[in-house]
């Protein structure tokens, strides 16, 4: 098959992949408003009652929220520094961070996780689960 035919066929395949994955993403969207921490479901308001607040400085300004390290200490009976923590978002985005990140991280009342002095790709929107690995 020459380039004249191959390029349109490949373009069609690419479009089908894009359309198929869009349908899949829409169908698999997680619509819960609760957060699961180490297997336990919590309401965002509950989280604010459980753990201490912390303010961190990021290049998006000062962010105040629940301290992630304190949240894990209060909700999970585990060896904190031995584990890694995966933040899972509603849109399936997820990031895994070590304990040192939790010590400089917060979760806000709009379910967004921020860490001080880290790349923004570690900040997760619409968090639905914090998994302990």
């Amino acid at each position: 098959m020459g380039k004249d035919k191959r390029i349109p066929v490949l373009a069609m395949i690419v479009l089908l992949i894009g359309i198929g994955s869009t349908i899949y993403v829409q169908a698999s969207q997680n619509n819960t408003s609760n957060i699961k921490i180490n297997g336990q479901e919590y309401n965002i308001e509950d989280i604010f009652k459980i753990a201490e607040m912390r303010t961190i400085v990021t290049d998006n300004g000062e962010i105040t929220g629940v301290a992630l390290d304190d949240l894990i200490i209060k909700t999970s009976n585990i060896c904190n520094s031995c584990n890694q923590y995966t933040f899972k978002a509603k849109d399936t985005y997820q990031q895994t961070v070590p304990w040192s990140y939790m010590q400089k991280g917060v979760i806000t009342d709009y379910n967004r996780v921020y860490f001080q002095d880290t790349a923004h790709s570690f900040w997760v929107n619409n968090v639905v689960e914090i998994e302990v690995n």
Binding site: K3, L10, A11, M12, V14, Y24, Q94, Q95, A119, S121
Partner: protein
């Protein structure tokens, strides 16, 4: 002399690319628009194809990616500096890979169907590969380590978000290729001052804003 001309070309096109990512990209992001796909479909594709058309030199687009990515690191506005810079650098290299089998005069793309198809392929692959590269490299560069399961579970979202870039690419490439009909020639006496002047303006605005906001 030819090398100097190429270096000036890399600098000016890379600076324009980086400048548009920093300034326009931030505006689009603040407006809540899918800025990554819009930037790739409209601007990145335009800069990469035009530079290939005018200079016809292998390696140029990779150099442009390095210049644009470096400028992005100085971006004072919101967004992930490191991830965006890595994605931009990757896009330059990926463009070279996609296009290395094609001629520099674009003679293969005689029909609009072929042009649109190539626009779809280029824009989609640039966007998706750039996204994947940044998801892999950012945790590694940050010292946290790459977790493949984080990428695997997010792949459908990445593949889905490239669709908009692909559709824009389908429209944009036939338009960009119309520039072949233009007979743009600029004298050396004007070429170097213009290239360096435009590049300097891009860098001064981005770095200047960084200083102002950082103060």
């Amino acid at each position: 002399m030819k090398n100097f001309k190429l270096i000036a070309g890399i600098l000016v096109f890379g600076s324009l690319w980086g400048f548009s990512e920093c300034i326009l990209g931030s505006i689009l992001k603040d407006a809540g628009l899918p800025y990554g796909a819009l930037m790739t479909g409209f601007f990145v594709l335009t800069f990469l194809v035009l530079s290939r058309m005018f200079y016809r030199q292998p390696g140029m687009q990779m150099g442009m990616g390095l210049v644009a990515g470096t400028l992005r690191l100085f971006n004072p506005f919101g967004g992930c500096h490191l991830c965006s810079a890595l994605a931009i650098m990757a896009e330059g290299a990926i463009f070279e890979l996609i296009w290395h089998k094609f001629s520099y005069d674009f003679n293969e793309f005689r029909t609009t169907t072929l042009q649109s198809s190539m626009g779809i392929l280029t824009a989609y692959l640039l966007y998706v590969s750039g996204y994947i590269v940044t998801q892999v490299l950012t945790p590694i560069v940050s010292g946290v380590g790459f977790h493949i399961e984080n990428l695997v579970v997010f792949m459908p979202r990445i593949l889905s978000s490239g669709l908009l870039a692909a559709l824009i690419g389908a429209v944009m490439l036939p338009i960009i290729l119309q520039a072949k009909k233009l007979d743009l020639k600029i004298k050396d006496k004007l070429y170097y001052p213009t290239a360096l002047g435009i590049s300097a303006i891009c860098w001064i605005i981005v770095i200047g804003t960084w200083f102002i906001l950082g103060a």
